[in-house]
């Protein structure tokens, strides 16, 4: 993370701007309440007291897309819901990330028919896919930590 401990007793911390930016983004990422089906129940269980997600700063699940940075698409996306999903994604402010939780959101899952969109990456760009039907709460937490690794590697892009 670039922190230099040598000057610890002086109380001075030097680091790069990117590390601070990524650190602050990961420590309080607010997910948007987008539970659709069965995976939503496991997401709620992950928020419960047993598998606590508020350790990761995700205690607050914001229903409004304007106030959230992470969209966890939990559950199967039907064809009627796909435009709604896209509109909500467009309403989220940058920086935003998407986790496709579960088999149905990643690839269509058990369902291979006219009604389910086979993989939510046809509608929004996805950062992390979590497998499982439904994934255990620990799997969801592992997915979130993987997303944190991804965020920590982001660089500041200089717009030319």
């Amino acid at each position: 993370m670039g922190v230099e401990e040598k000057l610890g007793n002086l109380g001075v911390v030097t680091t790069t701007l990117e590390s601070v930016m990524n650190w602050s983004r990961t420590r309080a990422m607010w997910p948007m309440l987008f539970g659709l089906a069965c995976c939503a129940i496991e997401m709620m269980a992950a928020e419960g007291a047993h598998y606590d997600m508020s350790r990761f700063g995700m205690e607050l699940m914001r229903p409004s897309p304007r106030q959230s940075d992470l969209m966890i698409v939990a559950g199967r996306v039907s064809r009627k819901m796909a435009p709604v999903l896209r509109r909500l994604y467009d309403q989220m402010p940058e920086p935003k990330w998407v986790i496709a939780m579960g088999d149905c959101a990643s690839c269509g899952g058990v369902f291979n028919n006219y009604a389910v969109v086979a993989g939510v990456d046809e509608v929004v760009p996805v950062d992390v896919y979590i497998a499982g039907c439904p994934p255990r709460p620990e799997a969801l937490i592992h997915g979130i930590l993987t997303l944190y690794d991804k965020v920590n590697q982001q660089r500041i892009k200089v717009k030319a």
């Binding site: 309440l33 987008f34 539970g35 659709l36 089906a37 069965c38 939503a40 129940i41 496991e42 709620m44 269980a45 419960g48 007291a49 047993h50 699940m61 229903p63 559950g75 199967r76 039907s78 064809r79 009627k80 819901m81 796909a82 435009p83 709604v84 896209r86 509109r87 909500l88 058990v110 369902f111 291979n112 028919n113 006219y114 009604a115 389910v116 509608v123 039907c133 439904p134 255990r136």
Partner: protein, 409 residues
């Protein structure tokens, strides 16, 4: 596909009152993504200030085409899809489907399998009611119930995982019995749960039942009379809260329910508070059933012997030629059911859940129709929601206990 459609008032003119067309009332969209609609339900509200004049539900945002997809799979594969219908009552869905297939084909189920089925289904009923209680508490802003209820549910999920390896979509109950026998730790875990749970239910009641804030929000809200409820097709706790004593576990007992002694709670007011009390009582009665079934658990096989339909145990395949042939036939093509149609109903935590399976003699079902309780219970929502405040509407939706997987299939 990713284009949203603009719907003008013209298309729903026949559903809204005159005042909307003149601009006197506001048409508000309580959209598919909303924290209080318990899933992807879209409600079009016609509001006069804060009062709901009309409420038009729009469903189909979770439509998965399960009924059509089941026609493309054979009977054993189609059961996997039944878990995903009402995802809070997964074990109950498996039971409903297995019973329909057993009725169609004429399979017997050994007594040990029936008793274990009852234990698992009642535990699932408790888990489903706990989630209802937690989310209802969250809707009326009693947030601590949410955390407490999920704590109990974890104990039940551990029991299900111990039996089948999966917390939610277990597919443990299969036509002809169970997948396999329960492990040795099962009895100790269930007894531990039985010991701990009654005090927890008392805690939940102490939190909410006499709480003046809760009573203010639920007493007298969303009333339905018994005739209206029956005409609207409601079943389950909303119907029992209006005074009709209709519970399929008592009136048409299945899977050995006639041996267990339990009460069916009913109330007569038909409002949100009555439904709350009915479900809290059902938690206690379900625990009573689990205890009796566990005490009386008989020994014996857990699968039917009829190997034309039920796979033989793996240990037999190495020594018996018939077992190998049956296993091969069941795994490649699947069993063929006789031609005809059956209708088989069970009592899910939400109401009457039934399967209508039409068979044409082949290995795949010709048509499967699932009668899900939340579909009819949700139709009653506009009738209950006329003239209430928006905050009351949230309490009413919570009390009907809909699961959108059930509604949209």
């Amino acid at each position: 596909m990713t284009q949203l459609q603009e719907v003008s008032v013209e298309e729903i003119k026949h559903l809204v009152s005159e005042r909307a067309l003149q601009g006197d009332t506001v048409l508000l969209n309580m959209g598919p993504q909303h924290p209080s609609t318990h899933g992807v339900l879209r409600l079009l509200l016609e509001l006069d200030g804060e009062i709901v004049v009309n409420c038009i539900p729009d469903i189909g945002f979770l439509h998965t085409g399960i009924e059509k997809n089941m026609e493309a799979k054979n009977y054993a594969q189609a059961e996997v899809m039944t878990d995903r219908l009402d995802y809070l009552n997964t074990v109950g869905n498996n039971l409903a489907y297995s019973m329909a297939v057993e009725k169609l084909v004429g399979l017997d189920v050994p007594v040990r399998a029936q008793a274990i089925r009852v234990i698992l289904v009642e535990l699932q009923r408790i888990a489903s009611h706990l989630i209802w209680l937690g989310t209802t508490g969250l809707d009326v802003a009693a947030m601590s119930t949410f955390l407490y209820c999920f704590r109990e549910r974890e104990a039940i999920m551990d029991i299900l995982e111990m039996c089948s390896g999966q917390r939610m979509m277990t597919t443990f109950i299969r036509p002809g019995g169970l997948w396999r026998d329960v492990p040795v730790e099962f009895e100790a875990a269930v007894r531990e749960f039985i010991k701990v749970f009654p005090r927890r239910v008392d805690e939940y009641e102490a939190l909410l039942s006499r709480n003046p804030l809760f009573l203010d929000r639920t007493l007298g809200i969303g009333k339905v009379t018994a005739e209206q409820a029956l005409n609207l097709g409601m079943t389950g706790p909303p119907l029992r809260a209006t005074g009709v004593n209709w519970d399929l576990r008592k009136t048409r007992p299945y899977s050995g329910y006639e041996q267990y002694d339990f009460l069916v709670p009913t109330r007569s007011e038909g409002d949100v508070y009555a439904r709350y009390i009915v479900r809290i009582e059902e938690l206690r009665q379900s625990l009573k059933i689990v205890e009796q079934a566990l005490n009386k658990l008989p020994l014996g096989p857990v699968r039917s012997n009829h190997h034309k339909f039920v796979p033989p145990p793996r240990s037999e395949i190495g020594v018996s030629m018939e077992a190998l042939i049956h296993h091969f036939k069941l795994w490649t093509e699947g069993f063929s059911a006789p031609k005809g149609a059956v209708y088989s109903a069970v009592e899910s935590p939400r109401g009457e859940l039934s399967f209508y399976i039409v068979s044409d003699g082949g290995p795949k079902p010709y048509r499967v129709h699932v009668r899900t309780p939340s579909y009819d219970n949700l139709q009653a929502l506009p009738h209950m929601a006329k003239g209430v405040l928006v905050a009351d509407l949230v309490a009413i939706i919570g009390s009907v206990d809909i699961v959108l997987g059930d509604v949209d299939r």
